[in-house]
């Protein structure tokens, strides 16, 4: 395979989230619902979250889009479930910096799988794919 440069973008873990998305679906008892779409490409995400006592207790997403946008949504739900709202928004900020290739302080937070999306910063045309779900969460 002669696509070595692409492997920075399409990491194994990303493709795993794309093919086997975590937290796919819609929460019947969620108390926060957000719909986001990227008008330039038609990607769309429907995000439902359950926030109790300042904590994200559950989150699910549905949508249509490319591997990067769907994997990013899957990873995001995995990362924010169980976090308090403040931490979730910190993670969102860190993610935003990471994806734009800016310096960031991890503040001892566990980024988990989302770190795999770092390579997207080298593909400017795909940054919006990765940030769609996070914009919905904000």
């Amino acid at each position: 395979m002669s696509f070595n440069n692409l492997d920075a973008l399409y990491r194994q873990v990303i493709m795993d989230h794309y093919k086997n998305p975590r937290n796919k679906g819609s929460l019947g008892d969620g108390n926060l619902t957000v719909d986001m779409n990227n008008p330039t490409c038609g990607d769309r995400i429907h995000l439902t979250m359950k926030v109790e006592d300042g904590k994200v207790t559950d989150a699910k997403f549905e949508g249509e889009g490319c591997s990067i946008s769907m994997a990013s949504a899957s990873m995001m739900t995995q990362t924010i479930i169980g976090q308090d709202v403040e931490t979730a928004s910190k993670l969102s900020h860190i993610f935003s910096c990471m994806i734009q290739g800016k310096d960031y302080d991890e503040e001892n937070l566990d980024l988990g799988d989302i770190e795999a999306l770092q390579g997207v910063s080298k593909f400017p045309a795909r940054i919006k794919c990765a940030t769609l779900a996070w914009k919905a969460m904000e």
């Binding site: 395979m1 696509f3 692409l6 399409y10 493709m15 490409c41 038609g42 490319c66």
Partner: protein
């Protein structure tokens, strides 16, 4: 037409992208520019940049002459009767908006109908949606046939005596299908409606004869036909344009200005408020000279040949769906497709890493995407500088893309 020779006239194509020689297959979005056009723009800014239609100095006269000479080139290119019928605009979008606002607001009433089709580009949908909202008119869509084409029978059912405006694209930017504009115009006229043609994807690729089509308005853009961005044309029959009010007001378009009242210049200048797109128009003139030298008929023939070659090669890729008519002669050089289990964005990214530029997304045609029942597609579009080798590279890239996504993960 020798395409390898034509190709050499486009300096941008002689470069490597991501370590591979560039294969540019996104001409339906914007075409590349030949050296003749680039030089004319350079010459204008270096030697006679000046405002037009005012002042008596030599540079101003030279700029005015060249600007108006470009108008005559456009007239001849589409076979309009007179230069009064050629209005320079910012592009197809502005041209269609001008008709919708100026003609539409004056001539439409509640319960009148505007007819378009499911395959239209957003630029030929939203101006009419807005007009319908403002006037209370109804916006109707001609349904498409199985292969994405428009049948005259369906058109006859949709266009009625209540229809005041029919507006259809000449060539689809997604399906590549060439619509029967002359016949549709006849149906519109039988019902007392005017015919507006979105010619953005037609003017670059084929001989346009507005008198033969008999349409009332024809809109197109310079940048898709080897010209610069920011310049387009609205052709309109004189009988309509004379009655229409300008939609922009200011300098250039006036005859006499009083404190409370003003009068307009004659056609076509009453529709060109402000300093016009001088370099753009001159650049478009050079692009038309270039296209004439090659011959619009030769361009279409070349695209049919490439489309036929691409349809054959691409159909052989398992899991690849091609949208639109399968017969090359029914379409211009646009092929829209999807690769099974690989999102079009991912297809475009992988091809880009191979130096191949295609488009992915909804192609500014969301109603059509809905009709196709897809959220987005990939599109390869060809022009006079593309060759069979470009298509070989595309096919090779697609096979690799498929392998990458099925075998590596």
């Amino acid at each position: 037409m020798n395409n390898n020779e034509v190709r050499k006239l486009f300096p941008i194509l002689d470069q490597e992208v991501n370590g591979h020689p560039l294969v540019y297959l996104d001409s339906a979005a914007t075409s590349q520019k030949p050296v003749q056009v680039i030089e004319v723009l350079d010459e204008y800014y270096r030697e006679y940049n000046s405002n037009v239609h005012r002042g008596v100095h030599t540079l101003g006269t030279r700029a005015t002459d060249r600007y108006e000479a470009a108008r005559e080139k456009v007239r001849k290119f589409i076979n309009a009767s007179s230069i009064e019928e050629i209005i320079f605009t910012r592009g197809t979008t502005t041209a269609i908006n001008t008709v919708a606002i100026s003609y539409g607001m004056e001539n439409l009433e509640e319960d009148d109908e505007i007819v378009i089709s499911y395959m239209e580009h957003h630029s030929n949908i939203i101006p009419w949606q807005q007009l319908a909202k403002r006037t209370g008119a109804k916006l109707k869509y001609i349904p498409l046939q199985e292969d994405g084409s428009i049948s005259l029978e369906e058109a006859r059912k949709t266009i009625t005596s209540k229809t005041k405006i029919v507006s259809i694209m000449h060539v689809s930017n997604v399906l590549g299908v060439i619509n029967p504009i002359k016949e549709l115009t006849a149906i519109a006229h039988e019902n007392g409606a005017i015919m507006v043609v979105d010619g953005a994807q037609a003017a670059p690729h084929m001989k346009i004869d507005v008198r033969d089509l008999n349409c009332d308005f024809f809109a197109f853009s310079g940048h898709k036909m080897c010209g610069p961005t920011g310049i387009g044309v609205l052709y309109g029959k004189r009988e309509h344009l004379e009655k229409m009010e300008p939609i922009e007001f200011g300098g250039e378009m006036i005859d006499f200005v009083g404190l409370q009242e003003s009068t307009w210049k004659e056609l076509p200048w009453k529709f060109e408020a402000g300093t016009p797109i001088i370099a753009g128009a001159i650049g478009l003139g050079a692009a038309i000279d270039f296209l004439n030298e090659i011959g619009p008929e030769n361009i279409l023939e070349h695209e049919h040949r490439l489309a036929s070659y691409a349809l054959e090669k691409m159909s052989a890729i398992e899991g690849l769906t091609i949208y639109g008519p399968k017969e090359a002669e029914k379409r211009a050089g646009v092929i829209t497709f999807n690769l099974e289990d690989v999102h079009p964005h991912d297809v475009a990214t992988v091809l880009d890493s191979e130096g191949i530029a295609i488009r992915a997304g909804h192609h500014c045609a969301q109603p059509l995407m809905k009709w196709l029942n897809v959220s987005s597609t990939a599109r390869a579009s060809f022009y006079l500088y593309n060759t069979e080798q470009d298509i070989d590279r595309l096919v090779e890239g697609l096979v690799k893309t498929k392998e990458y996504f099925t075998n590596v993960f």
